[in-house]
């Protein structure tokens, strides 16, 4: 019995080196070009060959916020994948595999799951065509138009010539033909797409795109997963856009080069993950002290130390906040969506120059490496704000670090006649003359500190104010930051859909909204306080062990989040985990106000007070 749904999910699994990412990307792109919304997430390991890799691709006729928890169709490129996931395929789904590789036993499969084994050698004459042939069969069984995939094959192999295109297109056709003649049409179908060809990207390219759009001309970096794809994207567009991309000997060099370029007036950035960011630490203070614009993208992965190179986590918040000794102005943006990655790239470039300070973009593997469709971004109205610049000295001479009401001193670039100065990492006066060693001058020191720190007031006013998504006066507010935004939105929609009853209450006891922060620093304390005071119950959702955003919120507002869902197993939150935890709280907990919860009745810090709740299926999910 065929069921036409608004979405379906395909998993492609195998070993590293099996070409899973490229097969998954092709499928994702074929769908995004056929009018579907797509969200794909590749779960992989830090090995070049072997290991286990599985790409989850969810497509829908509506916006799909996450990779989804369920599995309708599985392409198993090896026996390991089959054994891991075959039993999870939903009733009416199908499993595709290469019969030359292994024999699949249909034991324990859900009802009406088709087991589709392709004799790849016999069909395509070449084992290298395995992925293409299996993809053909999948497209046929799901009932998607093969035209988009054939178009992609042509594009992908255009440089390799007609012969290569033909071999691949033939293998694909053999796969569709096999499925047409030997298999039943798939029972799980997705409705017709809307025909729009949507852009498909990940967070790293979108941050890069935003920075390029805002005139970034210099990017220096040392390779580090999961920031490397930002380097690769920028290299690809470097030659086309006049962006200089420099691979450096280490992250210390990378950030210092970007600072050097920023010092002479080039919009410059560097990118890394937590370990590399740790090496950049000292130079972030250098940018703060010398008042040099620089943008640093920190794509978090599982820590500590080398940690989980290919897994996601949100555990570097305090590293971002505390990077470098002493105090200096900085901004930290935490984009939550692909569009926000783009706008954060633009905004970071502007803030860095306008306020002459380091601007950090906090991302993570889950945001950076996903593949998701989006409905476009504004490429025609890019604000470019550099702040005050001087082309020549005035009659009173030039003071590079002039004390002004905003803390921002007009900037002259090296090469300008009549405005010579030295930018020093030692404390200095308004002229840039070092006061640290010989002429120690406490009032001057205090004046220069105040001047620099005053810039934070201006930055705060420029940043988007935090907002609550969803119904006002909800019974439970889900609190998070950065990349978990969309899973929170989906959880909210799921709960509110199932929960509402005609009487205004709900079947399980309430409805839900979301407060997910996209600005970390300067912390919008006043706005967050106002929003939280109006909340009934709160539950934080964070991919870390200690509850970092919860701590920051309490530090800055004095308010404590009551309930907590934390995950640190390296995999992104599943919708079910968030929904189950929220449901439990709504069912069992008294509806006390967030303000009252500052005092914990368990004698523990409030964010460590455990609540009883059923396990959600993953041992490493820590629930309080």
């Amino acid at each position: 019995m065929t069921q036409t749904l608004t979405e379906l999910t395909v998993w492609i699994g195998g070993a590293a080196g099996d070409g899973i990412a490229s097969a998954g990307e092709s499928f994702a792109k074929a769908c995004s070009r056929s009018g579907y919304h797509v969200f794909a997430y590749n779960s992989y390991q830090s090995v070049i060959r072997g290991g286990h890799v599985c790409m989850h691709i969810r497509i829908g006729t509506h916006k799909v916020y996450t990779q989804g928890d369920e599995l309708d169709y599985l392409i198993a490129l090896n026996q390991d994948t089959y054994q891991r996931y075959a039993k999870r395929v939903m009733p009416g789904g199908a499993i595709f595999y290469n019969t030359d590789k292994f024999q699949a036993k249909p034991d324990g499969l859900a009802k009406n799951v088709q087991l589709i084994g392709l004799p790849v050698m016999e069909l395509a004459g070449n084992q290298l065509m395995q992925n293409t042939a299996l993809m053909g069969a999948l497209i046929q069984v799901i009932g998607l138009d093969p035209a988009a995939t054939l178009e992609l094959i042509k594009e992908r192999f255009a440089k390799k010539g007609e012969a290569v295109i033909k071999v691949n297109a033939d293998a694909f056709d053999k796969g569709t033909e096999f499925a047409k003649t030997k298999c039943k049409p798939g029972e799980i179908r997705v409705g017709q797409g809307d025909g729009r060809r949507r852009p498909l990207a990940g967070g790293n390219p979108m941050v890069g795109f935003g920075m390029v759009a805002a005139g970034c001309r210099f990017y220096s970096a040392y390779p580090m997963t999961p920031a490397s794809s930002l380097l690769h994207w920028l290299v690809k567009y470097g030659a086309k856009t006049g962006l200089l991309v420099k691979q450096c000997e280490d992250e210390i060099s990378a950030v210092n080069m970007a600072i050097g370029a920023g010092h002479v007036g080039v919009r410059a950035a560097t990118g890394t993950s937590g370990g590399g960011f740790a090496l950049m630490t000292e130079a972030i203070g250098e940018a703060g002290m010398t008042e040099t614009p620089v943008v640093i993208v920190e794509v978090q992965r599982g820590g500590p130390s080398t940690g989980l190179p290919t897994k996601t986590e949100q555990a570097d918040l305090f590293q971002l906040l505390g990077a470098s000794q002493g105090e200096f102005p900085r901004a930290i943006l935490a984009p939550r969506t692909l569009q926000e990655c783009y706008t954060a790239g633009i905004q970071a470039m502007n803030l860095a120059e306008k306020y002459q300070c380091p601007v950090l973009i906090s991302s993570d593997l889950y945001l950076a490496e996903r593949l998701e469709t989006f409905d476009g971004v504004d490429i025609n109205h890019i604000p470019i704000e550099r702040g005050p610049m001087v082309a020549q000295a005035g009659s009173n001479g030039y003071r590079r670090f002039l004390d002004t009401p905003t803390g921002v001193s007009p900037r002259a670039l090296p090469g300008t006649a009549g405005t010579i100065y030295t930018a020093a990492t030692d404390e200095h006066d308004e002229d840039g003359v070092v006061i640290s060693d010989v002429f120690t001058n406490p009032p001057m020191r205090a004046k220069m500190m105040s001047k620099r720190m005053r810039k934070m007031d201006g930055i705060l006013k420029e940043l988007p104010a935090p907002q609550i998504d969803g119904p006002r006066n909800a019974d439970l507010t889900l609190v998070g930051w950065g990349s978990t935004y969309q899973v929170l939105l989906e959880a909210m929609e799921t709960l509110n859909k199932e929960g509402f009853s005609a009487g205004g209450g709900s079947a399980f006891g309430g409805n839900v909204n979301v407060l997910c922060l996209q600005v970390i620093w300067p912390f919008p304390a006043e706005a967050v306080t106002k929003l939280l005071v109006g909340c009934k119950m709160t539950m934080s959702v964070e991919a870390n062990y200690t509850g970092q955003i919860v701590k920051l919120i309490r530090m800055e507002t004095g308010l404590s989040i009551q309930h907590h869902l934390r995950k640190f197993d390296g995999e992104p939150f599943e919708l079910k985990q968030v929904v189950d935890q929220a449901r439990t709280i709504l069912k069992t907990k008294p509806k006390e106000s967030v303000v009252a919860s500052v005092v914990s009745d368990e004698g523990l810090p409030p964010d460590f007070s455990p609540i009883e709740s059923p396990a959600t299926g993953s041992e490493a999910v820590r629930q309080h």
């Binding site: 001309r217 856009t241 600072i259 002479v264 080039v266 670039l413 930018a423």
Partner: protein, 286 residues
């Protein structure tokens, strides 16, 4: 030719009386004046250490950065604005100790800039510990029984890493040093000038008289600076006779010459910030 006094900074150097760095500063001012480069077109980048205070003492743009990180800052600045004359100054601890990783790779890169190292074989600003160029068995505050490690050879290191102009001067030979610096600034590529710049306070071993007894000029002995093997041999000559002068010079395309983003010839800092090519990038996402 410009006057040397045009390059005198507004701050009086705070080095100890008799410090070798005075001679280095004077020679550098003379070299730039002789080359007639306007002060505002010069950027002097340094790290941390006594010698790294130099940017404040010269009338030119300056960036007085972190300990050991002057070369990456200077590299970014030069790649960002190729119209600037970029000169990096620092000491042996800054350049051959904490910053040696950057030194190695900057030599490979051959960016068109000059690196002047005031090599006094000791950490001065931290009051006299052993440095990477302290000779074996020399007693310092951190090695009261004498250093156990052997000294690094900056000349050999620069040569082996691919620097295209490698010289050594002595701050007791000002005019000779100025000529080496002039050649370094004029050289198209990464030029290293290691300078014996005695620390009169903390190095009682490598003193002015110690150097005067030993140094001789390579050019007086018809050294051929195009001969790499000979340069390498001279790099390790140490003892009764120590060579100063130009060890090696070779023309190799600079990093800027081969960098695609710089092909237009217009410095990055002078490129427009508003773009008109975003639609094409957007199309690639589809």
């Amino acid at each position: 030719m410009a006057q040397v006094k045009e390059y005198i900074g507004k701050i009086k150097p705070d080095w100890c009386p008799g410090c070798g760095d005075f001679g280095v500063l004077n020679s550098l001012q003379r070299a730039i004046a002789e080359l007639d480069i306007a002060p505002h077109n010069v950027l002097v980048v340094s790290g941390i250490g006594c010698s790294s205070n130099l940017p404040g003492f010269i009338n030119a743009y300056g960036f007085h950065g972190l300990h050991g990180r002057s070369l990456p800052v200077a590299s970014g600045a030069k790649l960002g604005n190729t119209d600037l004359t970029v000169i990096v100054t620092g000491g042996d601890g800054d350049g051959y100790g904490i910053g040696v990783g950057h030194f190695v790779h900057t030599c490979r890169r051959n960016i068109n800039m000059t690196y002047i190292v005031m090599d006094n074989q000791v950490y001065g600003l931290t009051t006299g510990q052993a440095s990477p160029t302290t000779e074996k068995d020399v007693r310092t505050k951190s090695t009261p029984d004498g250093t156990i490690e052997i000294a690094l050879s900056p000349i050999a290191l620069a040569l082996s890493c691919g620097a295209t102009y490698v010289a050594r001067g002595f701050s007791g030979e000002n005019l000779h040093l100025a000529q080496l610096m002039k050649g370094a600034i004029e050289h198209k590529g990464f030029a290293v000038v290691d300078v014996f710049s005695p620390c009169v306070t903390y190095n009682k071993h490598n003193t002015y008289p110690w150097f005067r007894e030993r140094v001789y000029k390579l050019e007086d002995e018809r050294h051929d600076p195009s001969d790499f093997r000979l340069a390498m041999e001279k790099a390790f000559e140490w003892g009764a006779r120590i060579p100063i002068g130009l060890f090696y010079k070779v023309d190799r395309p600079t990093y800027e010459d081969e960098e695609p983003a710089l092909r237009s010839g217009k410095p990055l800092a002078k490129q427009p910030l508003v773009r008109d090519d975003l639609a094409a990038i957007m199309e690639d996402f589809i």
